[in-house]
């Protein structure tokens, strides 16, 4: 029993994106471009604090009653209530019928982790289906809680479009009642979302097999600038599954409020209609108590500051209005950059079709560039991105987009056209 078990601890490879930052800081070239970051930057390449957030901070700083007391274990209801409304919509039947349980979480990751914990205590044998590809952390979050994961086809690399056939086939062949993790909008990393018609097809197939759905909603309002538009899939899913299975929604305010580091978010669970003899209130109370136990055992209470800021933004009509405008500011700049990059590549006559850059939404574009092209981009042109070819469009601005387009043009020509 005196073994020195530390010896067995394996050294893990460093986070791929973290390394980008390190290499960039050692790069002495004048023009270098960071397309690895997962946070919004303004047109001068700087982090941007939303005006609505600035106003909310001011209100909190000037509030004589502000203190640092613990929040409730399940969080600030002045955050979780309006957050559910933002996500599910004013006319949500689930809200009207009182079928939701909402608790505060440590942004999106914390909500996903809570979902994984909850699944692992209630239905550990279910398979969790993730899109291929997906956000790298999804797999470790679910497997970290002892759940088994599988993948469903998503991205057709040849056509740079949705592999709907493969997707539907996976839904059909998955064991009845599996868990499907869906990106509510702005799929990470591809930036490619199903269109409304495709969503309906996908969700109906899920209903057929009585699968459970988890929506990861990290970009609502950030993708299109419109909260309702970006919640299309979530709301349709809730409608179609209202008699079928519970739906979990993991909601992050990192991107759309621009408070990445304050970890504000919510976990929502929406129950389907129940038979008459089931007391909805009892079921909800039991679920809430289990969620509270998870929070209590991992962080006691969720962090206050970010939650209070977002609560101000969601509850004060003039701030909410400003926030809506702020999301338009961010999303329209991103969309503009997508067009500038695509147009520049077209005018350089870069081999291949680049329309997918403007068709994709959200922070990222899955460019289709190969790992060796990405390597050459960095080595020869000081343009940094993930080796998967995922580029953060937020890192583009009017000062560097031309440089990036020329760099991509050079590497694509260097390696020939066969790979695109």
């Amino acid at each position: 029993m005196s073994k020195t078990i530390f010896n067995n601890v394996a050294l893990l490879p460093p986070d791929a994106l973290f390394n980008i930052k390190q290499r960039m800081s050692q790069d002495s070239r004048k023009m270098k471009v960071d397309l690895g970051i997962g946070a919004y930057r303004d047109d001068s390449g700087k982090p941007w604090v939303l005006p609505s957030v600035r106003e909310a901070e001011k209100l909190i700083q000037e509030d004589p009653d502000y203190n640092h007391e613990y929040l409730n274990i399940t969080g600030l209801t002045s955050l979780t209530d309006p957050a559910a409304m933002v996500l599910l919509g004013q006319d949500s039947l689930a809200l009207k019928e009182g079928r939701t349980v909402s608790v505060q979480s440590l942004s999106g990751t914390g909500a996903l982790h809570m979902a994984a914990s909850f699944y692992s205590t209630t239905c550990k044998d279910k398979l969790v289906y993730l899109s291929d590809p997906t956000w790298a952390n999804h797999k470790s979050i679910f497997e970290g809680k002892g759940l088994k994961t599988a993948t469903y086809p998503y991205w057709n690399a040849a056509s740079k479009s949705l592999d709907l056939e493969g997707y539907l086939n996976a839904i059909k062949t998955a064991p009845q009642g599996s868990i499907f993790v869906l990106h509510a909008c702005a799929h990470n990393p591809t930036g490619l979302d199903p269109n409304e018609e495709q969503w309906a097809t996908i969700l109906k197939a899920i209903v057929e097999k009585e699968h459970m759905v988890l929506f990861d909603s990290a970009y609502q309002g950030f993708a299109s600038g419109n909260l309702n538009k970006d919640a299309f899939a979530v709301r349709l899913g809730l409608e179609l599954l209202a008699d079928v299975t519970p739906v979990i929604i993991c909601q992050s305010f990192a991107k759309n409020v621009g408070m990445y580091g304050e970890r504000a978010g919510c976990f929502h669970l929406v129950l389907p209609h129940q038979d008459e003899f089931v007391k909805m209130a009892d079921v909800k109370a039991a679920i809430q108590s289990q969620l509270a136990l998870i929070t209590r055992s991992e962080l006691s209470t969720p962090p206050a500051y970010g939650a209070k800021i977002v609560a101000q933004v969601l509850n004060k009509p003039e701030l909410t209005k400003q926030w809506h405008a702020d999301m338009v500011t961010m999303s329209s700049r991103i969309i503009k950059m997508r067009h500038l990059l695509r147009d520049a590549l077209v005018s350089l006559k870069t081999p291949g079709n680049w329309d997918h850059i403007v068709d994709q939404t959200g922070m990222f574009s899955y460019t289709g560039l190969s790992a060796e092209m990405v390597q050459r981009l960095e080595k020869e042109h000081a343009v940094y991105m993930a080796s998967s070819g995922r580029a953060s469009i937020a890192g583009l601005n009017s000062g560097n987009v031309e440089h990036v387009a020329k760099a991509i043009n050079e590497v694509v020509n260097y390696f020939g056209t066969s790979k695109l």
């Binding site: 970890r263 209590r296 209470t301």
Partner: protein
């Protein structure tokens, strides 16, 4: 559409049992609903001043003002790194391993301390227990009694065997019982994994009874001999004597390498919730003091990062920015020392005032119990009577939060307590 049968999960979701409400925070919810004008909340460990207010410490308020007004400091709300803010790390490491525990300098130089910013003490315990259960141990020992959440944290993070060692007997600390429990368990086990033991660094929660330094030596000698993994839970640094450095005595003793070499490491879970009053902002840290050099530390670092990444990606920024300003600005730091001392003094004076009003053993020697709480020794039915008859809320185990008492309610509360004696 035909009304579908609820799937197997729907069925299962209806059979989820109620988790028991949290023993401490649940009472606050009940308190908030209580209509009695004289209601008094003596449950949660939040410091209140003599006017019953939760105020921000002057040093912390200054730091906040600096943060709010400095455009420079407040322009980037990006993610912190997975391990937390680098400046915060430097300043907390210095505070803990140069100032609180000077022999830690050697450990820092040898790159033996793996460090992550955590969601206060609970977050540190959660990351530590997840790490330990993945690689090193599945047995843990807590004092009996202990903070009720300790067992939850270790259980949900993979510990199979939750044990309690004797700690408290008839109003006194029972060191002999403690040591003999550990010895007996060591003899009867054939587990090849070392067991962990959670130690309250000072101001034991809930009893307020701490071993003396001499007693700690006996205890730590035994823990070392039995090759247990020490986990030091330091939630109240400074609230015992009023001197943050003095209160780190257990850390200093444990890291005396002429005395102990912890072959499986030493874990320190540290919180600024109480001593900076940053409760709800969730500021603290986990450090793992590894037994050998930098290589081992790098492996531990990488695994801790993986755990954090899967739990919540990165810690919240605001509270750590405030704490960092307090720790890095010499003027504010001195002011903070003063603030902590004032709090400790007030806690002691509340105890003295209670002693004037109540003829209780636990109050006659004001040095016997330490910290924010008074362990009254009241049983559950007495605690219920207090709550039902007088709307005075104590934790079920009889723990009373001293700072909830002030000039305007101390007579009311002490009268009610006296009535119980009859």
């Amino acid at each position: 559409m035909l009304r579908r049968q609820l799937s197997s999960l729907s069925g299962r979701i209806n059979s989820i049992p109620m988790a028991p409400p949290d023993k401490i925070l649940g009472l606050t919810e009940q308190f908030n609903a209580d209509k009695n004008d004289n209601k008094t909340n003596l449950t949660v460990g939040i410091y209140k001043d003599n006017w019953g207010q939760v105020t921000t410490m002057p040093s912390v308020a200054r730091a906040q003002a600096m943060l709010d007004q400095s455009f420079e400091m407040n322009t980037d709300l990006s993610y912190l790194p997975i391990k937390g803010c680098p400046d915060f790390r430097e300043n907390v490491l210095r505070f803990l391993y140069r100032e609180s525990c000077p022999q830690g300098v050697e450990l820092l130089n040898q790159e033996r301390i793996s460090f992550v910013q955590t969601l206060s003490g609970t977050g540190a315990l959660a990351v530590a227990s997840k790490f330990l259960s993945l690689f090193m141990s599945h047995t843990v020992w807590f004092p009996n009694p202990s903070w009720p959440n300790h067992a939850n944290v270790f259980q949900i993070n993979g510990f199979k065997n939750i044990n309690h060692y004797t700690y408290y007997k008839d109003g006194q600390l029972d060191v002999d019982g403690w040591i003999s429990d550990l010895e007996k368990a060591a003899k009867s086990t054939n587990d090849s994994f070392p067991p962990c033991i959670v130690l309250h660094a000072c101001c034991h929660n809930p009893t307020g009874l701490d071993p003396t330094l001499e007693q700690w030596k006996r205890i730590m000698d035994k823990i070392h001999e039995l090759k247990m993994i020490p986990i030091i839970d330091m939630a109240y640094q400074g609230l015992d004597t009023g001197d943050v450095y003095k209160d780190a005595y257990l850390l200093r003793l444990s890291l005396d390498e002429s005395r102990y070499q912890w072959s499986n490491g030493l874990f320190l879970c540290q919180s600024f919730a109480k001593n900076m009053g940053l409760y709800g902002e969730r500021v603290g840290s986990l450090s793992v003091v590894t037994s050998r050099g930098a290589e081992e530390k790098r492996s531990v670092d990488s695994q801790l990062k993986k755990i954090v990444r899967g739990m919540y990606s990165s810690p919240p920024g605001y509270g750590s920015r405030v704490a960092n300003i307090v720790l890095s600005n010499p003027h504010l730091k001195n002011l903070w020392f003063q603030d902590v001392e004032n709090i400790a003094k007030r806690l002691q004076s509340v105890k003295a005032k209670m002693a004037e009003r109540l003829n209780w053993d636990s109050l006659q020697d004001p040095t016997r119990q330490h910290g924010m709480f008074l362990y009254t020794g009241l049983n559950a039915s007495e605690v219920n009577t207090l709550r039902e008859d007088s709307s005075i809320y104590l934790v079920q185990d009889g723990r009373l939060s001293l700072s909830g008492l002030n000039d305007s309610n101390i007579d009311y509360v002490c009268d009610a307590l006296r009535k119980l004696e009859k």
